[in-house]
């Protein structure tokens, strides 16, 4: 329920709604966008970053919070585990139970490998389930993988690795088909035509959706298939260190039971890191739309073993996180709300930007509106701008919101806000890790053999910003490929002697660089006290 102060401000939005609904704001020029990003995007705040002192990316900048984890101590020493006491011995070990890990496991299994998933929460407790808006794929007659390539390459500031982006766009229609054949229920017209919309920065309507439960629908289907294929899923068990062999190839992981803290050795011919993102690191103090376990574990595991990161200094702040009510502060308001017609409106009731600029530009524009321009709406604890949801039914007719974005309606309705009749308040929220481990087209890391990566833990697929719908796509495309590549590679791998020597080597580097820290990593889970004075 809105307070009376906020209700008063809504009148300004209502007064201009008719005009705003038909108003077509101009898109920004390339120069305007550059200027805006440099001034307002969090990635450009130099004081929020530091240079790494050790490791494969020594001398490169990353957020303070990530640097602290990348340069922290291991949770163990080599002598805390007996590497001869092997609890699990598999061909392919998948670390992470989200969309990428599940896709990888399914394809590795289909390729004949003995594959296992280990996940620190449950399979499906992942960012995948909250990817509400959709998945891209150039499958319409007016579209093509080449147009998709240009959209994604430009939207990512021309920084994507071409060989990775090529795979993403070229395998997209096959990924959509693969999901459909597994039984994912895409929104379709009666003749089977996919109902597709725009996302920020797309030049064709190629966003496929399953209402606003797209990721949820994909994840529950993949999970069901993992169970049908009887792939072992070891849940509530985190990987806390990679294991190498004496030739420096990846050969397994040290696992820790999250409840009993028991340590176990998983030996594997190949390993796939599919550990997802980092929203729970709360970079720059931002709230996050991410799941509870999004703590950059994969980056930390890989980095300590010597793997290289790419674009670890670039994060995505989703422009429309919830700014009010505070119980769901930072939760995601899907971009689909704008795809189907809602516009961003400031405290004066003015549409201040085109609603479908890329995410980084939109986020920076909202931050500008709420800071220097002084046009933000005071929420009681901070500022936000309006996302005028009632516009949607003005354009597409009554019933559209319940049919196309029921989850959004449900989320706000629990707090007495009916988005069909009242606009909502939004502000950027930490959403996606654009960077990650550096891989080649076979999904193998560039410098550790037999270590593969898929999903949000990969860097370079999207460049320095990601378009909506390209993440659900990448977890499928790269998940499947990582699974196939890792299964294939496992056939020609004979595991030799296991070692954790890299832990001590990394520890020596920490000492030599004069880094003083009492932190251990990976973080695994954040700790919250919500302002409890006894615990802060």
């Amino acid at each position: 329920m809105y307070s009376s102060d906020i209700k008063e401000l809504i009148k300004k939005v209502e007064a201009r709604r008719e005009y705003n609904t038909s108003y077509e704001p101009a898109r920004m020029t390339a120069e305007q966008k550059e200027q805006l990003l440099a001034t307002y995007h969090p990635d450009y705040r130099a004081d929020q970053f530091e240079l790494l002192k050790i490791g494969a990316n020594k001398g490169e900048k990353v957020p303070h919070e990530l640097a602290e984890m990348l340069q922290a101590h291991s949770r163990i020493t080599a002598d805390s585990v007996n590497l001869d006491d092997v609890a699990y011995d598999v061909d392919v070990l998948v670390i992470g139970g989200g969309g990428a890990g599940s896709s990888a496991a399914i394809e590795a299994k289909r390729a004949g490998a003995n594959v296992m998933i280990v996940t620190k929460l449950r399979i499906g407790d992942a960012n995948t389930v909250m990817a509400e808006g959709g998945i891209q794929g150039a499958d319409k007659p007016n579209d093509s993988p080449a147009i998709h390539y240009i959209d994604a390459f430009g939207g990512g500031h021309f920084a994507a690795k071409p060989e990775l982006l090529y795979k993403l766009v070229n395998e997209a229609p096959d990924a959509i088909n693969w999901l459909n054949e597994l039984g994912v229920e895409f929104d379709k017209a009666p003749d089977g035509t996919m109902i597709t919309t725009h996302g920020g920065g797309t030049s064709r309507k190629r966003m496929h959706a399953a209402k606003d439960y797209t990721g949820s629908e994909i994840m529950r289907t993949l999970r069901d298939e993992v169970f049908n294929l009887q792939i072992p899923v070891v849940d509530f068990t985190a990987a806390i260190e990679l294991i190498l062999d004496e030739n420096g190839k990846c050969a397994g992981a040290v696992l820790m039971n999250m409840e009993t803290k028991e340590l176990m050795v998983a030996k594997a011919k190949t390993v796939i890191i599919a550990t997802g993102g980092a929203g729970r690191m709360h970079y720059q103090g931002f709230p996050t739309s991410n799941h509870y376990g999004a703590t950059a574990d994969g980056l930390v595991l890989g980095y300590r073993a010597g793997a290289k990161l790419l674009y670890a200094d670039t994060l995505q702040y989703h422009p429309t996180g919830v700014a009010y009510p505070e119980q769901i502060f930072g939760a995601l308001v899907t971009e689909k709300v704008r795809s189907i017609g809602a516009k961003l409106v400031n405290v004066n009731g003015e549409v201040f930007m085109h609603p479908l600029e890329t995410r980084d530009v939109s986020a920076a524009s909202i931050i500008r509106e709420c800071s220097d321009r002084g046009n933000g709406v005071y929420t009681g604890s901070g500022y936000g701008v309006w996302l005028d949801t009632p516009m949607i039914e003005r354009i597409h007719g009554e019933g559209t919101i319940m049919a196309r974005i029921p989850a959004m309606h449900r989320m706000f309705n629990k707090y007495g806000i009916d988005i069909r009749y009242e606009p909502i308040l939004v502000y950027p929220t930490l959403h996606y890790q654009n960077g990650g481990l550096d891989i080649g087209a076979d999904c193998q890391t560039s410098n550790i053999e037999n270590l593969f990566v898929a999903g949000e833990a990969v860097g370079g697929i999207h460049g320095r910003n990601r378009l909506m719908g390209n993440s659900l796509l990448d977890i499928i495309v790269f998940g499947r490929d990582a699974g196939r590549s890792a299964a294939e590679k496992a056939k020609n791998t004979d595991c030799c002697k296991l070692t954790l020597a890299h832990i001590a080597e990394f520890e020596a580097k920490i000492r030599e660089a004069g880094i003083e820290t009492d932190k251990v990593s990976p973080l695994l889970l954040p700790t919250y006290s919500h302002g409890n004075p006894k615990r802060s």
Binding site: G124, I147, F153, G183, D191
Partner: protein
């Protein structure tokens, strides 16, 4: 100072700010959650929770991450519930009523008590979608169950031992794969890609200098 309320976590009393959710109240009280906490946004179903307000008869259910605390709330979480999931091959499965009889025969033991519907954290009409599954009407079952987050509370309340979320998932997969209309434009595009229709174009783009890519991007035509 914000208003404080009393909540009873597994029967033990804690004083917490009234603006918190059940999940954040547990953390305020000092819990480091491992179970019963997944996406924190109402989609994963990890935080199914049962509560009763002191003095009231009604037993309520919710997702802990999506529900604000109330004074005198007695809370028990349900971080795991043993649902039955039958294993099947999606490629060869029959898509008629028989399949439900074979895999989930217990749905025909439904006594119509409607406890499932009353206990749905997503306010779905669970009993109706089970009725649709009984008839082999997968499309209706899929539609009515679509917003299910598989938290399992319905099954915990069912006297017939039905695993409703798993029944619905089977119906949706059958509907999505076999019954929903086929997409011809997708099939056409797959053939084109298979034939290498876009290969040269893509290879060309991959080689282009950034300056040319910028030209292409900044001047591209955007579908209305």
């Amino acid at each position: 100072m914000e208003k404080l309320v009393n909540v009873y976590l597994f029967g033990k009393k804690y004083e917490v700010p009234s603006n918190l959710t059940i999940m954040t109240a547990m953390e305020y009280a000092g819990y480091q959650l491992v179970r019963g906490c997944g996406c924190r946004n109402g989609f994963c179903g990890a935080c199914a929770t049962i509560y009763r307000i002191k003095g009231q008869k009604e037993l309520k259910v919710c997702l802990a991450c999506q529900t604000q605390v109330e004074n005198d709330m007695y809370v028990a979480t349900l971080p795991f519930f043993p649902l039955v999931k039958q294993v099947y091959d999606i490629e060869t499965i029959a898509h008629d009523q028989q399949v439900m009889m074979q895999l989930y025969p217990e749905i025909y033991a439904c006594i119509g008590c409607n406890a499932c519907t009353k206990s749905c954290t997503q306010e779905l009409n669970v009993m109706q979608y089970i009725a649709a599954a009984q008839r082999g009407d997968f499309e209706t079952c899929a539609e009515l169950s679509f917003d299910c987050v598989m938290c399992g509370v319905c099954s915990s309340r069912c006297p017939a031992g039905i695993s409703h979320p798993q029944v619905a998932l089977l119906a949706r997969r059958i509907n999505g794969k076999y019954l929903a209309p086929k997409t011809s434009h997708l099939a056409d595009r797959l053939v084109e890609i298979e034939n290498g229709t876009y290969e040269e174009l893509l290879q060309n783009l991959m080689q282009k200098p950034i300056s040319e890519m910028k030209e292409l991007y900044n001047n591209r035509e955007i579908e209305k």
